[in-house]
Symmetry: C2
Subunit: 479 residues, 2 copies
């Protein structure tokens, strides 16, 4: 009998899949999960539990969900509960309103592939109010998380011309969804470095350098900006955004604005790319822009419920049609996720039955963000050998730290980068699981990690203290 | 000032996106929506309302959701309702059990990217019981609908060798998710025809013909089987499945079994590819298989809640790892969808508080399926010029009909295929929206449409009657 050869092996699998790296769920998380199992088995460690600081997942860090959102979702799923006296009238009205837009009143029916018309309308109202620029529900696509939508938009650029692929410019450091998705799609990644010495500013001359280098081997088609920054936490000022828009204009680049942390801001004002583009007027207001927002971030932080949207501005109709076609094959985003988005776009208004509780909950979340960003900034700037830029927004700190030469050699010997070596040691000795800077990118010779900062107060203090103590021991060991 | 060129146009957009066709949400649905708006505006038509029969969406056709599922989802979303006296104890226990597997008890936290461990365990138990073959939770990936997972699995095959792309064999007629996704991924589609004269049987000699033709220009890597058939409604018998497995073995093909309608079967027994493969023993039991199931179909039919799984059997570890990496970048499938899947894999057991109601609801759904398949089969075989194979499963009929030569010429003149011409006329004259066979594929010179059959009884009768009457007029007009 003929020998059976497996159809898929390392030599004939889609090479792009083999190139995907996604550090946020990478080897360090695997080891953290392993340690958790070891602890459960009673294996002794210098700590009692693992502190997961690898992923921006507020509920996993103990943040409580917004009551109104969950009530609306529950009623939309189970309208039988409409008679329940414990649920306020405005939550019932909201659920009824959404159900009226679902085919035959069931969230179990497919929605249009772009999302329910009601919810896209609410998104357009939110955007109009945010920017002072009219937005249309027809330019809005809902998705099962921003990642899903970002991948769809990036897929448009897969194209070779004269033997050169398309390239997409992304910041370094960046959120590895971008590098991972560019790898999967076979697009070339064109790095531009954020200026750590100047609070992670986005320098036009660095954009130009990156574009020039990439243009030698590729057609640069799009420019990704992450604002507020992930992992870097800066919020771009208006002038900087104008510079970026002018740069994109000069080079006919499609602007991809990852603005998912727009509601996680401590004090600086947030300017959307769309607002600035339109206020700059023609010809800038005619540029192509995809701007992303999500319910996984912001005060809702409903990561597990998968809800997001993209607003597409200035696309040629044929590009929009192609994008819509590829989304239609996947049917529709989760309808209960769409309910969440509806609540986030239009939360309880002052005077409504749910307002007081909503306001208390949302204020507490914002207060925690303010406290944590300030505490992380302070502590990371007092550990010798550490430095950290001010954190204006997002939910992360991205401190820089020194790694002694001996430790760098030890890392080299074990085949990992110095920051990976450092973070793995940190995990083994303290149980704190942060993601090495290699996963996000950093200037060669500099070392960072990304940590989430929204843990409960005592856990947060314990984490900062563990890091400080570990760093001292690490320096002693390798000096 | 420099002229701004849009970055994305017809010449430089990802060509694969331009090639996507997905008839289920195509031009006929667009026209149906337009007609609905015209009716709302009071424009006179020969009918009062549009009957949407284009998509397998049971809730949109009036099927009521399973109460137990919706109660569990509502409680998982809003645990505050655990005290609600209207919800039975077993639904509360189930929700509590799921929440215990969510990080810090919130469905708003990300799950592992493969899905909650509890739910994957339930899937493995279901599969073990179904097949009498042990299944492992580690081989199961959950997704936001089967489409999402099928796309991931197909993406593995994107690979060129010696200037030849990979090809994937698909049945004709097929569900256009496959043709659409192959287009998007740039994979070659290798058609094999189902044998309409023999109740849509899958003939090994036709597989061989298709493989031979495709192998001239491509490396054939995988074989898709849709069982129960969509749009064709046949259920493969065991011997036929064995033949297919032997064929795949001979050619080292990866088996892709779309088994999403496995719970929508009238009377014939369902054999999963995995069961048959394992019962055939080595070497067949070592072949590569991806088998898909979804909560959008079956008795749950929760299309809008987006829940599905794939079981991956016999993959090399490196292939599985690559697939996992590409899924991890997308974070995780919706956790509330995972709750639905948990309920479907393990519905209320006899003796539990929810069993009686569940059993009544599920039986009614099955009874409807039996009645409709039989009624559709009968009616479509009594209209002169129509014929329809017995419908063993799924939720569709795919009747064949004659189109007079004059009508074929009229179609040609208006630049559409005869079946598209026929279905558009049907829509304009009766309001019945079915999908032309061109969208699924058919033998050249034969004409079909796909219609869903799970409408409420009166609507269903009205639809069949409208089609019969329309066909008679059509023949008179064009004979």
């Amino acid at each position: 009998m003929k020998l059976y050869n497996k159809s898929v092996n390392c030599d004939n699998i889609n090479k792009n899949l083999l190139n995907i790296r996604y550090a946020v769920r990478g080897p360090i998380l695997e080891r953290a999960s392993q340690i958790e199992r070891e602890l459960q088995k009673g294996i002794e460690k210098p700590f009692d539990s693992v502190v997961r600081a690898n992923i921006g997942d507020c509920h996993a860090l103990g943040q409580k969900p917004i009551t109104f959102i969950r009530q609306v979702v529950a009623l939309a799923a189970c309208p039988q509960l409409m008679t329940c006296p414990d649920i306020p009238a405005d939550a019932k009205e909201r659920a009824a309103e959404i159900l009226a837009d679902c085919t035959r009143g069931s969230v179990g029916a497919y929605s249009p592939s772009a999302g329910l018309s009601l919810v896209r309308g609410r998104v357009a109202e939110y955007l109009t109010a945010r920017d002072g620029v009219p937005a249309s529900p027809d330019d809005v696509l809902l998705g099962s998380g921003a990642s899903d939508l970002i991948k769809s938009v990036l897929s448009m650029f897969v194209h070779e011309k004269d033997g050169k692929p398309s390239a997409v410019m992304i910041p370094i450091p960046q959120y590895p969804l971008f590098s991972g998705t560019l790898s999967e799609l076979g697009l070339q990644q064109a790095d531009y470095y954020l200026d750590e010495e100047n609070q992670w500013a986005l320098q036009p001359r660095e954009l130009q350098r990156s574009w020039t280098v990439a243009s030698e081997t590729a057609h640069v088609r799009a420019l990704v900006v992450i604002n507020p920054g992930n992992p870097t936490g800066q919020v771009l000022d208006r002038q900087n955004i104008e510079e970026v828009i002018r740069f994109a204009y000069e080079h006919s680049l499609f602007l991809i604005a990852d603005e998912v942390y727009q509601e996680n801001i401590v004090s600086k004002p947030f300017y959307s790319f769309k607002k600035v583009m339109f206020e700059m007027g023609a010809p800038y207001s005619q540029m192509e822009l995809a701007s992303f927002a999500t319910c996984s971030k912001g005060w809702a932080a409903e990561c597990g419920l998968r809800a997001a949207f993209v607003e597409l501005v200035g696309l040629r109709p044929e590009a929009l049609a192609a994008l819509r076609a590829s989304r239609a094959v996947m049917q529709c985003p989760t309808v209960l996720g769409q309910c969440v988005l509806d609540c986030v776009m239009s939360p309880p208004a002052p005077g409504s039955a749910s307002y007081e509780q909503f306001n208390i909950e949302r204020s507490a979340i914002h207060r925690t963000l303010c406290e944590r960003t300030s505490a992380a900034y302070q502590v990371f700037n007092t550990i010798p050998g550490y430095s950290c830029n001010p954190i204006d927004g997002s939910m992360f700190a991205y401190p820089r730290f020194d790694v002694p030469a001996r430790a760098q050699r030890a890392a080299l010997d074990s085949g990992v980068s110095p920051d990976e070596f450092y973070c793995m040691q940190l995990l083994e000795q303290t149980g704190v699981c942060v993601v090495p800077g290699t996963g996000f990118g950093q200037l060669p010779g500099t070392f960072h990690f990304r940590t989430t900062i929204l843990h409960p107060a005592d856990e947060f203090q314990h984490m900062l203290h563990s890091i400080a103590k570990f760093h001292q021991q690490f320096l002693e060991q390798y000096s």
